[in-house]
């Protein structure tokens, strides 16, 4: 190792303290391991029944490992601040685009609350009580009022984990991550140590106990339903469906970017942010790859696609199927083991990862608003920091209130609210715009001084900056997702509505920007001063 050639004098200065493990933790938890594996399997295979989970996982891991790690790692390492992608996009692209995109992302974080807090209840808690043989409790939790009340409690607990400072959050995250991973490992080990014969026997035994369909009957009934819906149940995989499954797989691989909200506190940011992103993609990929292999071996290719269709497209309702839980992958593991402790840990894994997603909204949303407030693109109280807890408490409360409104709407109009695809908005807005910013980062004149001081400015392949290559790979991945998202049959009729919704949100963001520009101008403040370029010479 070369000798370090640098001298420092006695002067105040901080060494950042969040480690690579902490950065990884935030990125990994935002990938939502267990519920995201559920989405990839149930949503992915219900629509693209011929998808190959193993190949979709490998392709996603490679493309995200290159694209997301480089884009978010290099931008975060070059501008290690905790304001999210608003910082990058406003500096590299333009303040207006930065605000419009950021506005969309603020909505996204609220949308996650109203989707995921209820998911913690149903299927999370519902699954737990079904596994534990308490169907009455599970049925009660499925009612709109119960869903609203328990989801609201989840929302409130998530608020408490962040509003009192990041220390509580960081400590709790370690516990949640450990228990969540433990539960996921239990699921994997259950499948690993269950042969096909043992699984079929366990399924048939359970079916006999509950008067439900046997393994073969379930397959035949599901196939009939699929054909009635104009689908086929292929005996083997195909490339088109495999690429389509990657849309649902994006839940598991595209969300490590949350690290950007703590980038200002990570030590050795030039290494930790990029590696944190990479590991937060590779670790879920390892789990998903393992799960895919053992699922195909234990459950079977056709049966897995059939259960995914029943779980997602039919909402678990198949004539003759009377097992007490839905046939999702955790439910399939529950078929293979009857140990209450293992069942508890498996359901807990789903619940904890889901719950922590909600908590991460409280990490991101208040910081986004704080960054706007500092630029006067919002009321002054966005920047109020509570001296006792060192957090923007008012922003946290706003996040809670907006989340509550969303949860209430979701409890009543679940289908419509689910149709406003959060993923679609993120693909177009957050990921797409930021990938574009990364692609052109080395070539933008106004950001040149940031690029030249960046530790990655010398990273080149064939003369092309690595951040540009990463940006292009990321854009290709996002284009694949967007194409399949648009043509996804299950969401076809809602796609136009979603697109209008995205345009509306961007429009609101632009209106928000101009409103604050005009308002400040009236009192003699030129908002462009907040981020306008100053001549450097």
């Amino acid at each position: 190792m070369a000798e370090e050639k640098v001298f420092a004098r006695k002067a105040s200065g901080l060494v950042r303290g969040l480690s690579l493990l902490d950065a990884f933790g935030v990125g990994f938890m935002n990938q939502g391991l267990t519920p995201s594996m559920w989405v990839m399997i149930s949503l992915g295979l219900s629509v693209y029944t011929g998808g190959n989970l193993i190949i979709a996982t490998i392709l996603s891991a490679v493309m995200c490992g290159i694209g997301f790690s480089l884009v978010w790692g290099i931008l975060g390492g070059s501008m290690p601040r905790s304001g999210g992608e608003y910082i990058y996009n406003s500096r590299i692209l333009s303040p207006l685009i930065g605000i419009a995109e950021s506005f969309g992302n603020a909505f996204v974080w609220i949308m996650w609350i109203y989707v995921l807090a209820p998911w913690t209840v149903d299927p999370g808690l519902v699954m737990l009580f079904q596994f534990l043989g308490m169907p009455q409790v599970a049925d009660f939790l499925s009612q709109p009022l119960a869903l609203f009340l328990i989801a609201s409690l989840v929302n409130l607990i998530a608020l408490f984990f962040l509003v009192f400072g990041i220390k509580v959050f960081a400590q709790a995250q370690k516990i949640v991550m450990a228990l969540g991973i433990l539960g996921a490992l239990v699921i994997l080990l259950v499948f690993t140590f269950t042969s096909r014969e043992a699984f079929v026997q366990a399924w048939n035994d359970l079916a006999a106990e509950y008067g439900s369909l046997s393994y073969d009957q379930f397959l035949a009934a599901a196939q009939a339903e699929m054909e009635a819906a104009g689908k086929t149940l292929p005996v083997t995989w195909n490339w088109f469906d495999t690429l389509g499954v990657m849309v649902a797989g994006s839940w598991l691989f595209a969300y490590s970017y949350c690290i950007t909200f703590i980038a200002g506190e990570v030590k050795r940011p030039e290494k930790s942010i990029i590696l944190g992103n990479l590991f937060a993609i590779l670790v879920p990929a390892f789990f998903m790859l393992w799960l895919s292999i053992v699922l195909y071996r234990t459950v079977g290719f056709q049966f897995l696609s059939a259960t995914a269709f029943v779980d997602e497209a039919l909402g678990g309702e198949l004539a003759g199927y009377t097992l007490p839980w839905a046939p999702h992958f955790v439910g399939l593991a529950a078929v293979a083991t009857r140990s209450p402790i293992l069942l508890f840990l498996m359901a807990l894994s789903f619940i904890l990862f889901n719950f922590w997603w909600v908590a991460l909204s409280y990490l991101a949303f208040p910081r986004i608003l704080f960054a706007w407030g500092m630029d006067r693109i919002g009321p002054k109280w966005f920047t109020d920091i509570n001296p006792r807890w060192a957090t923007p408490v008012k922003n946290h409360i706003l996040c809670f209130v907006l989340g509550e409104i969303g949860i209430a709407l979701y409890a009543v109009w679940q289908e419509q609210m689910s149709g406003l695809s959060v993923t679609g908005l993120e693909i177009v807005s957050v990921f797409g715009v930021t990938a574009l910013a990364a692609t052109i980062f080395p070539f933008v004149k106004k950001a040149r001084h940031i690029w030249e001081a960046s530790p990655y400015s010398h990273w080149k392949i064939a003369g092309i900056p690595v951040v540009t290559i990463g940006g292009i790979v990321n854009l290709i991945y996002l284009a694949i997702l967007f194409y399949f998202f648009i043509i996804m049959p299950g969401l076809e009729e809602l796609t136009i509505g979603s697109l209008i919704f995205y345009v509306l949100i961007w429009g609101l963001g632009i209106a928000w920007y101009y409103f604050w520009v005009a308002r400040n101008k009236r009192i003699g403040i030129d908002v462009s001063m907040a981020y306008g370029e100053l001549p450097p010479e």
């Binding site: 070369a2 050639k5 001298f7 420092a8 006695k10 969040l18 001081a453 001063m529 450097p536």
Partner: protein, 309 residues
Amino acid sequence: MRIFFVTDIHGSNICYRKFLNALKVYNVDVGILLGDLTGKMLIPLVEKAGGGWETTFMGRNVTVDTREELEKLKKTIENVGYYWTHLTPEQFAELKADQAAREALFKMLMLDRLREWIALADERLAGTSYRVYMAPGNDDHFEVDEVIEGSEVIVNCNDRVVMVGEHEMATFAWTNPTPWETPREKPDEELEPMLESLISRIRDVSTSIFNFHAPPYGYALDLAPELTKDLVQAADRRVHVGSRAVAKMIEKYQPLLGLHGHIHESRGVQKIRRTTIINPGSEYSEGILKGVVIILQKGKLKDYIFTSG
């Protein structure tokens, strides 16, 4: 009256030049550049056998082979607030072993850069109507005052009460103790009489400005990450590190405005009774000039906007 307030640029050439240019761009009447003015790192450009230079910059080993690359590297070093020096491998080894020589070299380079800054200001601001005030911070050696004093256009406001329009402004560079034992720091008990003495020179404290480098303890502008014994961030906890003496003075005298720096991460604004306290923060190492434009009208604070240029 419009004031542009900046703090903690720590030797960054690009930030200083932006500060001078900002006076016109932001259309202000007064510029205030509060310490810390000087940088923290010295980058030795060590000659390589067979030509070229090598060093460590931003945590990575850097090698340059041509003069053009070298000049570009020097400019980047200056822009992030660091200093550079040419050394042979033997000179580097000697300097590494000699702390006193390193400190002397550091001091020389710091003062040289500050002289360049003063000369640049004298050249650019001569004949303009801008009023510019400058003062050191706790990281700046005492010789810094003399260099500022040498300016024809910049006023060294350190430890003085000066008029900023119709407002009196008292400036104070010292801070309460830091873990780094910087040149201008004292316990709060010793700062208090110094501050009382300074404030006693103000005639109308209700319209005055406290331009104190240290932020007041216990409010939103002095939150810094908690440190371990090794001066590494404990990361997940922020603690108050400001001056209790400064807090006491603000609470006691309730000036119109408190301008503060020192804690780069605590960019923000807060109201303490009738006093508005502001810390514009600092991102000097990225070449970004963080500041705040303050509008005063009829003896009151009309508005403010944080800037990032």
